[in-house]
Structures are given as structure tokens and as C-alpha cells.
Amino acid sequence: MIDPRTSIISKRLSRISRIIAVSSGKGGVGKSMVATTLALTLVRNGCDVGLFDLDFTSPSTHLILGTNLRRAKPKEEKGIIPPTMNGLHYMSLVYFVGEKPAPLRGAETSNALIELLTITQWGKLDFLIIDMPPGIGDAVLDMVRLIKNIEFLIVTSPSTLAFETVRKQANLLCELKMPIIGILENMKMDTGNYIQMETEKLGLRYLGEIPHDPQVEATIGDQPKLLATTLGKQMRHIAKKVSLTKKSEE
């Protein structure tokens, strides 16, 4: 018995120039905020962008985007086509479960992920941004196994605890020879440079810092407000810094 689904995944993603997993060893460092803001920033820069929420058990990007789940539904056409909102192609398990919990074990997470990668018709995109669940479990291993050209953007908070999990993740990804765009320090509250120094010791690029901004919470569900925050402004610099532009502009 062979699972035929994995054979088609590379074809489904073949028209996407860059696939970026926004990831962290630790939860609570602002991955979903960063992933969503990055996706919206790239849309604002004129790119064709998809956002895929892979945090099946704790999805939140739909809340950040202010998605109306009663109106936004994937269109069924030789698979499923993600709804487009303000120019962003958006896919999440929440279309199928709403706000109800999806208690999935590891193998089931993998199966759901493979199913969505098999049936989702993304079409031609400049970027697919993936909001990863925390840790180095099934989702990371599946991404490495199934998406050969995936790149990782790692998010940490200034906390040593967060960074130590990020260090493990970075070491794992380096051992697996996966490209890491760099490490982004989110929610910074002081002027120390511990994260920058440790990132450079790992031989990785320090993408910059995003100051802790209490106003971000009030922007949940309001995309223009989110892009106007310090996070939104910093993301424009970071996107430019790591050449996240349309392929034709490179």
C-alpha cells in the first residue's frame, strides 16, 4: 500500500519562487505575528504571496488577519483554491474546523499537512510564507522531507530560554543542510546584544530586532493598523535587507 499524495506535492509548489517557514524552537515569541506581518509586507511591496498556517492545534493567523470564516471559504476546483484577502492567498485548517479545537497527535498532524499540501492549488506565487508550530517536531521534519527548496526564518525573543531552543533548532537545520535566512529578535525590551552575539557565533545572520510594542495587541484583526506598528515598519527593512523581493526585481 502506497500513499500517493506525497508524489504530487513538489508539483503543487512548483510555481512558487520562494517558500519560507517562519519558525522557532519556542512558543510565544511572536511567530504568527511575524509571519503574518511579513506576508502582508510582501503583498504591499507588490509580490504575489500565500500564507499557510501550519499551526493546526493553535492557529492564530486568521485572527491577526481578521478573517471572516463565514464568508472566506476555499473554492473547490481540481483541488482547493485558497481564498484571497487584500491580495493575500490564505490557507488554514480553520476553514474546516472554525473556532473548534483540533486535537491532533503527531501522525495526524502529518497526515493533515500532507493532505493540504496535496489538494491546495496555490498557483504562481513569489512567496509562500508558512507559519510553523513551535519546536522541532513533526511539522519541521515534514517540511524538510516534503519541500526540498524550503528556507527557514527563525524567530526568538530576547529570553535565554527561547534562544536555547532556537539554538537546538538552528543546529538541527544546519545538520540537515537546510537554508536558514537568519534569526530575528522579536519583542526586545532592552539594549543588550546577547542574541546578536549568539546568532553570529552560530554562523547565522542576525536579521535585526523588533522592539516590544504594546500597541500590537490592539491591531489584531486590523491589517492596516498592524502594518503601521513598529513591527510593521521594521518588517519593511528586514524584507529589504534579506532581498525578499519579486524574482523579476532581483
Partner: protein, 132 residues
């Protein structure tokens, strides 16, 4: 019509096997579909016919069904999936991503959503035959 995406996956996978086995023609493809995903055999068969490449020109597609067995991780109860107990929207959600069954179905004995889909989940390629 999400069966089209699955049909494409079946044909791609079968072609990879045919190439590995150095088959010049595929004569039979046996597919097993689990009832949990509620794949419509007639649509799947139509999609396979429309999408197939030259190597499958004379291939017969056998589509077999598998009953779905679920087993509770908490109390060990095994039971059969019953589509009739679900409303249309829930059945459709499970059709797209069978794992969302964990959101809508619970163990009939202890009420836990923590169960295993033992068999009959989705689409499997069971066998292919061909000529070298």
C-alpha cells in the same frame, strides 16, 4: 471536485512506480478508498480517465472501498465510522481533511476525541500491474 487533485496524485505515484519497475505500459491500477474521506468513486474514475497519460492508455482502474475503524486511545473502544450521524457541513470538512474528524467525532463510550484512525482513512495505491 477535490477528487481531481487526488487522482493526479494517484497517477503521478503510479507513474513513478511504473518507471522504477521499467514498465512500458500499465494495465491495472488498484486503489483503496477509505470511507472516512467520502471520495466519490465515479468522480475519481472520471478524473483518472481525463488525466491519465499514454502509459495508462489501456489501464483498468479498480477502486475498492474500505470501512473506517476508529479506536479510542483512552478507553480502547473500537467503532465504525457512521457518515449518517454527521451533518452536511461536518461531512464536507472531513471529506477535505479527514483528520478534522477529531474535532467533530468522539468515542461513543468515553467521549474522548483522542482516537486513532486504524483503517479506512483516505486514498491508497494498493497495486499496479503492467507489461515490460
Amino acid at each position: 471536485m477535490h477528487e481531481w487533485a487526488l487522482a493526479e496524485a494517484i497517477l503521478t505515484s503510479a507513474l513513478q512506480i511504473a518507471e522504477k519497475e521499467k514498465l512500458r505500459e500499465v494495465t491495472e491500477v488498484t486503489i483503496r478508498i477509505g470511507e472516512l474521506q467520502q471520495v466519490e468513486p465515479s468522480i475519481l474514475r472520471f478524473a483518472l480517465r481525463e488525466l491519465k497519460s499514454e502509459v495508462f492508455r489501456n489501464a483498468k482502474f479498480h477502486i475498492l472501498r474500505a470501512k473506517t475503524t476508529l479506536k479510542c486511545h483512552v478507553c480502547g473502544t473500537s467503532w465504525q465510522f457512521d457518515l449518517k450521524k454527521l451533518d452536511k457541513a461536518t461531512a464536507e470538512a472531513i471529506h477535505f481533511v479527514p483528520e478534522v474528524a477529531h474535532t467533530f467525532i468522539t468515542c461513543p463510550k468515553c467521549g474522548s476525541p483522542d482516537f486513532e484512525i486504524v483503517k479506512g482513512r483516505g486514498v491508497w495505491l494498493e497495486n499496479i500491474k503492467g507489461a515490460k
